[in-house]
Symmetry: C2
Subunit: 150 residues, 2 copies
DNA sequence: GGGGTTGGTTTCGAAACGAAACCTACTCGG
DNA sequence: CCGAGTAGGTTTCGTTTCGAAACCAACCCC
């Protein structure tokens, strides 16, 4: 199977990755969450080359994760903003951030970015909870049902 | 910047993706969470070709996400199991699953896999919560602090 | 000793990436 | 009016990675 065909797997993880699983794509989404709107700013902060950033922005717009719209007419200029679908990627990004914070730094004081929860004022590392009972989720207490045909 | 150098970014998301951001890698991790242990089973379920699966397993072992150990001596055979570091990728996988469930199916009844929280017995789609106050997280109520030098 | 099983490595053509150059459609300053 | 600058890309072309198939190795059992 080729990567381009991964969206045909009967698995939501595979299908999600068919949209956000290309190299650099989640870094483009990260920038969008940090407020980046313009092509040149994505280019500067994501770190990929021009043609790759252009390709990823186009694919994210095609997938309705970002919306592209002109913010001036003459000369024509565009901005990219998260859609509702894109904003719902927040848990994916926050989970990657938490895992990277936990495992990818020699000295945790070097970490450049922290999240603060405005409601309680605390620095936080988001955790998963069950929406119905509110309890923190332990993977061992979760059962995957009906997983596959084989 | 080349993708191989993405772990040099001063960003936990980028560094996390330097480990699990290659094509197919999160699908290998998905399989590990579903209980797959052996090479031939990863090969069958992940969908990538042999050399790619071998490469991703090797890189995940190098990154201490999976551990490779023999389960018999003659002939030599190996199994791959999640480490503590690997098990902590659960939120990333669960978030991708939830997003894929939400956005990647025409008919949600076609979704092949559901998660059931054993403690409360309900089918669930995990959500993020603040570990200190227990509230569900709204991205608009989270501030990113000290984001970057520029 | 022939065939089967498991866990890979090698090979080689195709696709994706990456850096630099180029293009377009304007602006502004002189 | 001319030249330089800016924003947002596309094109080109050499390098890297992917992907499918073939091959290899170390055993087992019959």
């Amino acid at each position: 199977m080729k990567w381009r065909e991964v969206d045909r797997q009967q698995c939501s993880v595979a299908r999600a990755l068919s949209v956000v699983g290309d190299r650099w794509t989640m870094l483009v989404v990260r920038e969008a969450f940090l407020g980046t709107r313009r092509f040149e700013d994505f280019l500067e902060h994501v770190g990929a080359s021009r043609n790759i950033v252009a390709d990823r922005l186009r694919k994210l717009v095609d997938a309705d994760v970002l919306a592209r719209r002109p913010y001036q007419d003459a000369p024509p200029r565009y901005e990219y903003k998260l859609t509702a679908k894109g904003r719902e990627l927040y848990p994916v990004l926050a989970s990657l951030l938490a895992w990277g914070d936990r495992w990818m730094w020699e000295d945790e004081n070097d970490r450049p970015l922290h999240l603060v929860h405005d409601r309680c004022g605390q620095r936080m590392s988001p955790q998963l909870a069950c929406p119905c009972c509110g309890e923190a989720i332990d993977p061992r207490e979760v059962t995957a049902v009906g997983e596959r045909a084989s």
